[in-house]
Amino acid sequence: MPFPLFASTACFTPVQDADVEGGPLLWKAVRSAEETLLRIGAPDWGGTVEVHSTIPRGRGLGSSTADVVATARAVAHAFGRRLSPQEIGEIAVAAEAASDSLMFDLPVLFAQREALTLEAFPHSLPPFTLIGADFGGSDVDTLAAPQIRYDARERADFRALRGALRRALHLGDSSLLARVSTASTVINQRYRPIAQVDALLAEHASWGAMGIQVAHSGTVAGVICPLGDMDAAKRAAARLESLGAMEIWRFDVGVC
């Protein structure tokens, strides 16, 4: 889901017969640059990577993937090249082992450790207003978290969710999309629970909200409200605050 409030910007200065430099904090971006140089046929080149990011780290907002994607695009750009989302996805997984799917413009079902696009949807997200919150707590290291092994019953549920997701995107049905997201949140709470999310799941319908969304590894969660429904948005924000959210964001998705 696009999150227009934050962004990463990368700048790459190519140098021939040099290593890629970027400093220890940017090791994922450095690896992204190295991987990109190999892929575009410039293995003799290195250079300097600089990244400016406003995205909070370790919250499940895809901060490291944003750095990696911005860097890959900057490196390719320096050589007059453009990369497909799938190529960037492969670079991202090579650089950071598990990657978010934010290199795609349209919604995808993305295997984050394999860079495998399980399904690409030909429709953009339908419109809704998201009230997002960061509940804080310790930073999440996506790679260190054990991989979830869903049981057979959950895998069966995912098939129903996937059918409903196709329908929601095809029809532009925000309410159905929110129900799919809520069902996915319920399953995720069994493995990576965010304590405050149980209250959101129980109460959101009474505020006029359509559903709940979580970062599957992170400390952020969101309440999906009908687009422009200020009443639902206010009630959601108030509840997020009373649950101890450190930060609350409000933005519209699926609008231009």
Binding site: A152, A156, A160, L161, G163, R166, R167, V180, A183
Partner: protein
């Protein structure tokens, strides 16, 4: 759904999902050719994946109905040896088709004193297992991959129909109704599951007895039947089920078997009386019943009072306890209780 860009790898892949057909503004039929292809394929393919079926494995099972056909189709496609144990109900075209598909068939002639033909068939299965040490018994009544197979149907219904208020279907092993309803409820939690059984079936608390309507109901209690899935249970006799089967053909040109007729009767009633979309499972096509349900002479012999041109009954007789000597079409609120709780609740009331 759009046209796929891939050719199906076999008939199971091509034809295991139902066609979803609107039968009334709020009623959708899910019409299968041979519904049991789906669980048969899932059980066999999972067993192959887990290494429980190898090149020398004999698949053995008991069936008198379309599960055997589904299993025989899958085993023929996967190159597996299959030995089926059945009773005289299998004879005729079905037996011919099973043998054509390469299945070996043992027909049990005498019912057991306790448990009828099913118990007698299970005894033969045990003997066969001893004879073939490398064997795999799918056993649709207990294999969790039977209900899990129906995730594919839940996916299809969620995609094509969306929010479903009522899911209706005949119950025999419990696989189709429990598997489809549970998966659909992950996204539509308020979905109500309505099971269709027949009188003298043990599934929902009646005592076992002779039943004219076959393909639903059971003389045994399968562990795949999770009673707590069901909101409502209907018991339908052969006569209204046959009438509804013919009505489904007459009114909708849907040529289906008698369990589909029983489900259609119940689904039509719900669609008329309740709010929301009703989806009903229609498990198999009518060809197997040409000489029975679709033969007026045969029908007149078994159901002398049946008038095919009459209007179908529109509503069941509502009962508050499991009918012990029930007949016709009866229904009861089950309220997602276990069988034990239902029987205890009604004992407490009486």
């Amino acid at each position: 759904m759009s046209v796929s860009v891939e050719v199906a790898s076999d008939v199971v892949e091509a034809a295991c999902l139902p066609r979803l057909i609107r039968l009334a503004p709020n009623l959708v039929g899910a019409a299968f050719d041979v519904m049991k292809m789906l669980p048969a394929a899932h059980m066999v393919d999972e067993a192959i994946r887990e290494g429980r079926i190898g090149p020398g494995t004999t698949v053995i099972d008991t069936t008198s109905g379309t599960f055997g056909l589904g299993l025989a189709m899958v085993c023929a496609l996967r190159g597996l040896r299959l030995h089926l144990v059945s009773d005289p109900a299998v004879e005729g075209f079905l037996a011919q088709r099973l043998m054509d598909l390469g299945a070996e068939l043992t027909v049990v002639r005498e019912p057991a004193a306790d448990g009828g033909f099913q118990a007698a068939r299970l005894a033969v299965v045990e003997q066969l297992c001893a004879r073939y040490p490398d064997h795999f018994v799918p056993s649709q009544y207990g294999n969790v991959n039977n209900p899990l197979a129906y995730a594919a149907v839940a996916e299809q219904i969620a995609q094509v129909v969306g929010d479903v208020a009522y899911l209706v279907g005949p119950v025999g092993s419990g696989g189709s109704m429990c598997g489809t309803a549970r998966a659909l409820r992950s996204v539509f939690p308020s979905l109500r599951a309505v099971g269709v059984d027949t009188h003298h079936s043990r599934l929902f608390g009646q005592q076992d007895g002779p039943r004219l309507l076959r393909g639903l109901g059971n003389s045994l209690l399968p562990s795949n039947l999770d009673h707590t899935v069901f909101d409502e249970v209907h018991w339908v006799d052969a006569s209204p089920a046959y009438a509804a089967t013919r009505a489904l053909h007459r009114q909708h040109a849907l040529y289906m078997g008698p369990t589909s007729g029983a489900a259609y009767l119940v689904a039509k009633h719900l669609a008329r009386r309740r709010e929301g979309t009703v989806v009903t499972l229609l498990p198999d096509a009518g060809h197997r019943y040409e000489a029975t349900v679709y033969d007026n002479t045969w029908l007149a012999g078994v159901c002398p009072d049946l008038r095919l041109d009459d209007r179908l009954p529109t509503d069941p007789e509502m009962v508050t306890a499991v009918p012990m000597r029930g007949e016709g079409w009866q229904a009861m609120a089950w309220e997602r209780r276990s069988l034990h709780d239902v029987l205890a609740d009604q004992d407490g009331k009486s």
